[in-house]
């Protein structure tokens, strides 16, 4: 049944969390992030000392990033159930989510390029490091749109048996707003709004993680509800 493929897609979200944590955090050791206040030589030293771990960890992180594609798709499917024939918000969510996949994917390649020839000029390593981190932390806008339209779609659910609970709609809007401080990292090299800061990085990161778990649980029950209703209508 199609609920099996949907369950697979939902589990891909959990796969992303695990694999990304393993590669990006434990192997590449990108948590906590290298401070944006480091000078070029200090940044280059990180890539020279942990070359192997960074290379291997980022391969895993790259694979993990692609697992968000099925994850985004299954959310879109469930939003489509809410919207019926004119799934404008579901499609918006699908497009924004696809861009989000790239925002997770591309930094792994930029950091990889830095680790590919760590002996090159320190300035160039720093440039690639900057590119990776800015893309990764600052690009909140697709995620903002993604979470906002999930929220709006859930709140617009007029069905007798809503696909998702209404509080989840408000929760998604809250998460959307929380991503906004990421846009501030362009201004700062230190403090809470730098790319390693409490409010621009850590808070959105933790909330992003929790969002995955909560959406996962909600998706499972939505998929279960859907297969229940189709089974009963088939009888």
């Amino acid at each position: 049944m199609n609920s099996k493929s949907q369950l697979f897609c939902a589990w891909c979200g959990i796969g992303f969390l695990l694999l990304f944590t393993a590669g990006w955090w434990f192997l590449a050791r990108f948590l906590p992030p290298p401070a944006p206040s480091l000078d070029a030589a200090e940044v280059a030293a990180i890539y020279q000392q942990h070359t192997g771990g960074i290379r291997f960890g980022l391969v895993l992180a790259m694979i993990a990033a692609a697992l968000t594609a099925p994850w985004v798709a299954v959310i879109a499917i469930q939003l489509r159930r809410i919207e019926g024939n004119t799934p404008a918000l579901a499609y918006t969510m699908l497009v924004a989510g696809a861009v989000g996949v790239l925002v997770l994917l591309l930094p792994t390649l930029l950091w990889t390029t830095a680790a590919f020839r760590p002996e090159r000029g320190a300035d160039l390593v720093m440039l690639l490091n900057d590119l990776g981190w800015l893309l990764f932390v600052m690009t909140f806008s697709p995620f903002f749109i993604q979470n906002l339209v999930i929220g709006l779609a859930i709140l617009g659910d007029k069905g007798a048996e809503p696909v998702f609970p209404r509080w989840l709609g408000y929760f998604n809007i809250w998460v959307a707003i929380l991503f906004v401080p990421g846009g501030l990292v362009t201004f700062f090299k230190t403090g809470p709004f730098a790319w390693n800061g409490l409010l621009a990085f850590w808070l959105p990161l933790v909330v992003f993680f929790i969002w995955f778990l909560i959406m996962f649980a909600a998706l499972l029950s939505a998929i279960r509800q859907q297969s229940g209703t189709t089974a009963s209508s088939a009888v």
């Binding site: 609970p165 209404r166 509080w167 989840l168 709609g169 408000y170 929760f171 809007i173 809250w174 707003i177 929380l178 906004v180 401080p181 501030l184 201004f187 700062f188 403090g191 809470p192 709004f193 409490l198 409010l199 808070l203």
Partner: protein
């Protein structure tokens, strides 16, 4: 507020709106905590910078938001008694108060920027721009909600619809409440 008390105590609005409102207030609480902590480390810088802020703008904006909150209360009260057109007028008035808030904020920002004070000037102004900027975003979202609600009054309203109005009102009150904390924190308290 003037309607007869319901037989059963109930939470105004729908339960879900409190996820957003309490969650948002927790985050702002964290922001306020971080601000207060760093203010304690460097009180002179903060009080010198604070002295350059125009408290009149902040005070007028406080009044505008308080007024708008009251207008929303009256609007929702009217709706419960079926005065839809009057409620729409009050909601639009509240929206206009929000717009006035935004105009004053933009004037304030442009004065600061034209005198060379930006987000990277110093730590105080970093918080000033970030806190007021994030709050500004909330005002814009709240204004969109008010307009949506004003449009909704044209239809016959069920009890569930009234809950949606209450939820929107709660969000707008939060926007007001956050400003009531931000204003003294940034403009007044040393």
């Amino acid at each position: 507020m003037t309607s007869p008390p319901p037989a059963i105590q109930r939470l105004p609005g729908e339960a879900g709106i409190w996820v957003l409102v309490l969650g948002d207030m927790c985050v702002f609480g964290l922001f306020f905590g971080v601000f207060t902590y760093f203010q304690g480390l460097n009180p002179e810088l903060y009080s010198q910078s604070q002295a350059t802020l125009n408290t009149h703008y902040g005070a007028v904006n406080t009044l505008l938001l308080l007024l708008s909150s009251w207008l929303v209360v009256v609007a929702v009260d009217g709706l419960r008694e079926g005065h839809n057109i009057r409620a729409a007028k009050f909601l639009i008035s509240a929206f206009l108060c929000g717009a006035g808030f935004c105009v004053i904020k933009v004037i304030e920002y442009s004065e600061k920027i034209s005198s060379g004070i930006g987000i990277t000037t110093n730590e105080f102004f970093m918080y000033y721009y970030v806190l007021t900027g994030l709050h500004f975003l909330h005002v814009l979202i709240g204004m969109a909600v008010l307009i949506y609600l004003a449009g909704k009054t044209r239809r016959e309203l069920s009890d569930k619809d009234i809950q949606v109005f209450e939820s929107g009102a709660i969000f707008w009150h939060m926007v007001d409440l956050l400003w009531i904390v931000i204003f003294p924190l940034l403009y007044l308290v040393n």
